[in-house]
């Protein structure tokens, strides 16, 4: 057995690269399981109060812009595609393609957060729909609507925070990719970041219909 040093892609606690790769993915999946429980609490609370105060939740949902929500969903799905292609490039050791797709993923992630911040949250705040900061709506079901907007801001806020963390992680990977650190034997970091990114996408896939599409718009 040859004694390879710090540059070896195989950490010494693992038998082979395959095992190392599996350990990295398994660790990320377990982290994602805890994330499921983290968001699960919010989804459970949402389910409960939506059933208790359905008219108020529907009225609240009607104040959201479906078009912007759908566009943002598409932006996230595009970012998932570029992330998947980035992982593929890392697996195949294609540095330039990896760098390009990481930049695209970061740009799409930032686009999502900026659309959310400037076109939606700011608009909701100015309309007087931000509980605790500026909630001036006084129509029927105002209290239940305030509850809906509490869930809306909390769920989309925590989701956007996850996006920002993801952009940070991808930025670190981008620097490493630029330096040519990744290749067929060393791409676990990119793959794990990809798993996280796709998970955040899945959360939005559920948030979009639950927040934007309740209470028929026909």
């Amino acid at each position: 057995m040859t004694h390879s040093h710090a540059r070896s892609p195989l950490a010494h606690q693992f038998e082979d690269l395959e095992q190392q790769h599996e350990a990295a993915s398994l660790g990320m999946w377990i982290f994602l399981a805890t994330e499921v429980m983290f968001f699960g609490g919010l989804f459970a609370g949402y389910t409960l109060y939506r059933n208790l105060y359905l008219p108020g939740f529907e009225a609240g949902s009607h104040h959201l812009n479906v078009t912007i929500g759908a566009i943002n969903t598409a932006v996230l799905i595009c970012s998932s595609l570029t992330m998947a292609l980035a992982v593929r490039a890392a697996q195949m050791g294609k540095r330039n393609i990896l760098v390009t797709f990481l930049i695209l993923t970061i740009a799409l992630g930032l686009a999502f957060v900026i659309i959310k911040l400037t076109l939606e949250w700011r608009h909701d705040y100015l309309e007087g729909l931000a509980p605790g900061l500026n909630f001036t709506f006084a129509g029927p079901n105002a209290k239940a609507m305030e509850l809906f907007f509490c869930f809306y801001f909390l769920m989309t806020g925590v989701h956007a925070l996850h996006m920002v963390v993801g952009v940070g992680v991808l930025s670190v990977l981008l620097v490493q990719a630029w330096k040519g650190r990744f290749g067929p034997d060393h791409f676990n970091a990119v793959e794990s970041a990809g798993l996280y990114w796709h998970f955040v996408d899945i959360i939005w896939i559920f948030l979009f219909p639950l927040l934007y599409l309740i209470g028929g718009r026909y």
Binding site: L17, E22, L26, V66, A70, R88, I205, F206, R217
Partner: protein, 119 residues
Amino acid sequence: MQGHVVPKKTYFFIFGALLAMTALTTGMAFVDLGEWNTIVALIIACCKATLVALFFMHLRWSTTLMRVVLLSALLWLAILISLTTTDFFSRDWTPIPEGWGESSLLSPPALPGNLLQRR
């Protein structure tokens, strides 16, 4: 090389399917299906999530261990949501004994300080 290198074509196909389902779920919100609007929206969301997990997250080519982790997370999520809702929505099924006041479900106490006061 470890892991499965997925053909580009597969990724683009899944991407197209996800965009199509986004358009479908948005469109369905404008069609009156009554109670079924929410159910259809959730079914489409589950399909999209499954596609992302299977293909983008490589679960289709992963070992059983990863799938067990995901399924256990979903099982616990199901327990969390189902037990919470069954508790809440079955509270009014049994009559409230005399002197215990109204059900707290529809008229929750206004202030935490009132919780221990008996009327």
